[in-house]
């Protein structure tokens, strides 16, 4: 029975997060990208599609594009390997969809009393503060919130899962390019796979410094630790502790998504469309859809790892705390003494008290805002920078990003050991 409930919750989470949010935002990106380029180039962008005279600011182009792609002829070139040619786009979209499993949209839900202890929300297993205050310290056991309702899978190997799935992502493009039996496709596929594996190395190594600071691979746990206040006032977001790693990671992941300025695999002026030259109808659509979903994912993972994820600055389970003094201090030696607990609970009053449900709601809203800002940053980069040459891409990947991430790793290790 409990297993059935688990399945039901899982199904609901998958439907809402992946199909309700990710795919919707991914397809919205097809329009957003064109609108954003139009905005940057002082044009209108797509505005023509209309129903009964209503244009909805170009939003109907989404529907029109989708319907058009389904109704187009889907053909496979005569020399192509039919099975691999069909499976390759599916692999691309599959990896782009399942990679969202590790993104936490809010902290796990806590039944009962939740209070921040040195910047991290903890459950106390009591109904309210009075029950906690009258409790014997021996009976007080704190634990992290246990119901991950806002994250598909709270894996303890979260980031490894991400690396594994991005690794599989190479197959879709490499196989698609190879199976088409066209010279442009093959060149595009080769370029794509060489570029993606080159940047995968620096992507992994640039995050190693972050892993050292947080000491975990669990993504939600990393976000929880970003709630700690540095010097009692500044939220300890990833960008503050690893500023260098953010730029390395952002560069590597934009290269991984094969978008401008790293769009050599589909350089339209020389390779027609690169690895998807021979694709038509919805299979073509899938390739561009998975690219846009990856943009959303990069926005989400950057916001999660470096910009506090679902953390609203200074907002904790019971409201806003503008300094660390108004929070409970961690128990010395694992358990509070009776006097400590009494004085801590009395001292722990939020500057602005908010109900727990509202806090979760604000956190989800804040995280979505952060994702949208990170997507806007990527679009800004994409429409600002010209395309690199292929040797420049390889130069950047192997001779700049890789040594830089090794140096970042070394300095982080040294800093952690010297500062503790």
């Amino acid at each position: 029975m409990t297993l059935l409930i688990e399945f039901a919750i899982a199904l609901l989470k998958v439907l809402v997060i992946v199909f309700g949010f990710v795919m919707a935002l991914g397809s919205l990106m097809t329009l957003t990208e064109r609108k954003y380029s139009a905005f940057m180039q002082k044009r209108w962008g797509p505005i023509r599609a209309e129903v009964l005279g209503f244009r909805f600011g170009g939003l109907l182009h989404l529907v029109a594009d989708g319907v058009k792609m389904i109704l187009k002829e889907d053909f496979i070139p005569s020399g192509a390997n039919r099975n691999i040619h069909t499976i390759a786009p599916a692999m691309g979209l599959f990896t782009a969809m399942v990679i969202f499993a590790i993104i936490p949209f809010a902290d796990a839900w806590c039944t009962g009393l939740a209070l921040p202890v040195e910047g991290m929300d903890l459950c106390f297993g009591f109904d309210d503060a009075e029950a906690l205050q009258s409790a014997q310290p021996a009976a007080v056991a704190t634990f992290a919130p246990t119901h991950p309702y806002f994250q598909i899978a709270d894996l303890n190997a979260g980031l490894l899962y991400m690396f594994a799935i991005t690794g599989i992502g190479v197959y879709g493009t490499a196989l698609g390019g190879w199976a088409s039996n066209s010279k442009y496709s093959l060149l595009g596929g080769l370029r794509a796979s060489a570029q993606m594996i080159s940047y995968e190395v620096s992507m992994g190594l640039s995050l190693a410094g972050l892993l050292m600071v947080y000491g975990t691979l669990d993504v939600n746990e990393m976000v929880r630790e970003q709630g700690a206040l540095l010097w009692g006032t500044v939220p300890m977001w990833g960008i503050l502790v690893q500023p260098f790693a953010f730029f390395l990671f952002l560069t590597a992941s934009i290269a991984e998504s094969k978008r401008a300025p790293f769009d050599m695999p589909e350089a339209e002026s020389e390779l027609v469309a690169g690895y998807f030259t021979e694709y038509s109808a919805m299979k073509f659509g899938i390739f561009s859809l998975s690219e846009f979903v990856m943009v959303v994912f990069i926005g989400a993972i950057c916001a999660t790892l470096f910009f506090g994820g679902w953390q609203v600055p200074w907002l904790y389970a019971d409201g806003f705390h503008f300094s660390g003094d108004s929070m409970l201090a961690a128990a010395s030696g694992g358990a509070w003494t009776a006097g400590e607990l009494q004085s801590y609970v009395q001292a722990s009053t939020p500057d602005i008290a908010l109900p727990y449900g509202l806090v979760v709601f604000l956190r989800i809203g804040c995280f979505l805002t952060k994702i949208i800002l990170m997507i806007a940053l990527q679009l800004q980069i994409r429409w600002t920078l010209p395309r690199f040459r292929y040797d420049q891409i390889m130069f950047l990947g192997w001779k700049i990003l890789l040594p830089a991430s090794l140096i970042n790793l070394f300095i982080t290790a040294l800093a952690i050991l010297l500062l503790r």
């Binding site: 109704l71 002829e73 053909f75 020399g79 599959f94 969809m97 899978a153 109808a281």
Partner: protein, 122 residues
């Protein structure tokens, strides 16, 4: 413990099943909707309008293989670095020393490949 770990992976299972169903449906069902008009020229591989010359599966630059080999070396390095980084604060100076030795050897490898021209594209 065992059952608890499995429960963690149930949503992942559901997600994999649903995502697989959706992508396979798109790939196999949507081609049935569109028209089918056969013409020999259309079925040719695209080569700017002229007839394709030879096979596409011809030889290509050896540099792609070199990149792949270098990738294996450094990706395995990343695989070793990540677990070390997670428990780094517990290991302290001992872990730092051991890993510095390991990274120094790999950095030497990178310097060697750099000097011998394995990373050049021209």
């Amino acid at each position: 413990m065992g059952a608890a770990v499995l429960v963690e992976y149930i949503p992942l299972m559901v997600l994999f099943a649903l995502a697989l169903a959706v992508v396979l449906a798109i790939v196999f069902v949507t081609p049935l909707v569109g028209p089918k008009k056969y013409s020999e020229e259309k079925m040719d591989a695209f080569e700017c309008g002229s007839d394709p010359i030879g096979q596409a599966r011809s030889r290509f630059s050896v540099k792609f293989y070199l990149i792949a080999i270098t990738f294996i070396v450094f990706d395995v390095e990343a695989v070793f670095v990540i677990p070390w980084a997670v428990i780094f604060q517990d290991l302290g100076w001992y872990g730092f020393g051991v890993m510095s030795f390991f990274l120094a050897i790999l950095t030497l490898g990178l310097v060697y490949e750099w000097k011998s021209g394995g990373l050049e594209w021209d």
